[in-house]
Amino acid sequence: MDALKEGLLKLDPGLLLWTIITFIVLVLILWKAAWKPIVNSLDSRAEKLRGDIEKAEKARLEAEAVLNKNKEILDNAKDETAKIIAEGKVNAEKIRSEIIAKAGQEAGDITERAKREINTAKERALGELKLEIVNIATDIASKIIVKNLKPEDQEAIVKDALSKVDSIQ
């Protein structure tokens, strides 16, 4: 036990003083040469990190705003497209029915005109036919009249005609 007390549990005042001297000298040396620059660099980095984080937060908010705006624009565009498509459909329907109606009308017109043309052609043909028939009939009649007219009859007709002329005068 004495050996331990002498060896392990001995509090040597000289060693204690050496410890204090060594430690204080070490603190003084490292103060200026090491700790000050290291702590400064840590501080400046912490400051920089704080700034960076703030910047990142700002950038995130900005990005979010832009995203929201884009979303809004996209939504608007979607609405717009839907509206345009619906309008287009309605227009197309309208145009279709219009075209059909017009086509129908045109077809009707064409038929009408064709009918009219046919009628005129028929009428003209009939007129010509009538004229021909009249001519032929006149021819035949004149031939018959020439063959059957007696001089007295002719005289009677001429007289009659002359009397008419007289009556008019």
Binding site: G14, W18, I20, L26, L30, W31, V39, L42
Partner: protein
């Protein structure tokens, strides 16, 4: 601690019969952990011719091996941290893993030891002391794990010296920041009735001195304890003179060795952290 040392002293009696080993385990422990005077030049010359007289009749200033160990640690700290500081001054963000490692440890000391106990303004001023304290104790603790070197923090005088500086810090900071009179009055918490005050003041003054005392004993006992266990484990081999015991005791010693690695960090942290807490709390009256 004492119980352990008593057990160690009993061991040789049973061991001596088995073999011719003269050295008792107690002597072995003292030989490995105690302080001694180096026998090489120029230290021996300086010791014999320049420092052979006691300073003020009390302080035996001869350079012992533990003093040399402290100087080695001090030189190591300077060699490590001055280039690190220079590298960090040059570029705030270093690529070097070496620089980053030490820087991480410094920022650990700052964030976990100093910052919780000091306001931002004081933290910067307190950093040099606590950084030096932490790394000095850490490296001293780790020194003992290298064969041939010794743990200076495994000696009562060294830990007492460090704790004495902390005590001076507690009282000094208290007197400077609160004023001498209000500091000693402020030792007793506010709102204590006058009758209790008479009782409380001595208790608080005693507790003021118990703080560094507990720091001293804690660090010393932890660093010594691990080494003693390692030595006992290895001594078992000599005691039993058997290969099988050798395997077991080397494995045991190795485990304690790894535990020591952990304890070296933990004790450096505890000593520094408690010092920071004590000194930080004397900044303001409470």
């Amino acid at each position: 601690m004492f119980r352990l040392l008593q057990i160690i002293n009993f061991l040789p009696a049973s061991a001596e019969g088995g073999h011719g080993e003269e050295e008792s385990v107690g002597a072995m422990v003292v030989h490995h952990l105690g302080d001694n005077l180096p026998h090489f030049w120029p230290i021996s010359y300086i010791n014999e011719h320049l420092l052979n007289e006691k300073l003020f009749g009390i302080f035996d200033m001869r350079i012992t091996s533990l003093v040399l160990m402290m100087w080695l640690v001090a030189v190591l700290l300077i060699v490590i941290f001055v280039p690190v500081a220079r590298a960090l001054k040059k570029e705030t963000v270093s690529r070097s893993k070496w620089v980053n490692m030490w820087e991480a440890l410094v920022s650990y000391v700052h964030d976990d030891i100093v910052a919780p106990n000091f306001d931002h303004h004081y933290a910067k001023k307190a950093m040099p002391y606590f950084c030096t304290l932490f790394f000095f104790i850490l490296l001293s603790n780790l020194m003992g794990l290298i064969p041939g070197l010794r743990t200076s923090t495994g000696n009562l005088a060294v830990t007492a010296g460090l704790a004495l500086l902390t005590l001076l810090g507690i009282i000094g900071v208290g007197i400077i920041k609160q004023g001498p009179l209000s500091y000693f009055i402020g030792l007793v918490p506010h709102g204590v009735p006058a009758a209790l005050y008479v009782l409380m003041l001595p208790i608080e003054i005693v507790s003021l001195f118990i703080k560094p005392f507990s720091l001293t004993i804690r660090l010393f006992a932890n660093m010594t304890g691990g080494h003693v266990v390692v030595i006992i484990f290895l001594y078992l081999v000599m005691m039993f003179q058997s290969y099988w015991v050798g395997i077991g005791s080397v494995a045991g010693a190795l485990m304690i060795y790894f535990l020591e690695l952990l304890v070296a960090f933990i004790q450096a942290y505890i000593f520094t952290s408690l010092s920071a807490m004590f000194i930080g709390s004397s900044l303001h009256a409470h």
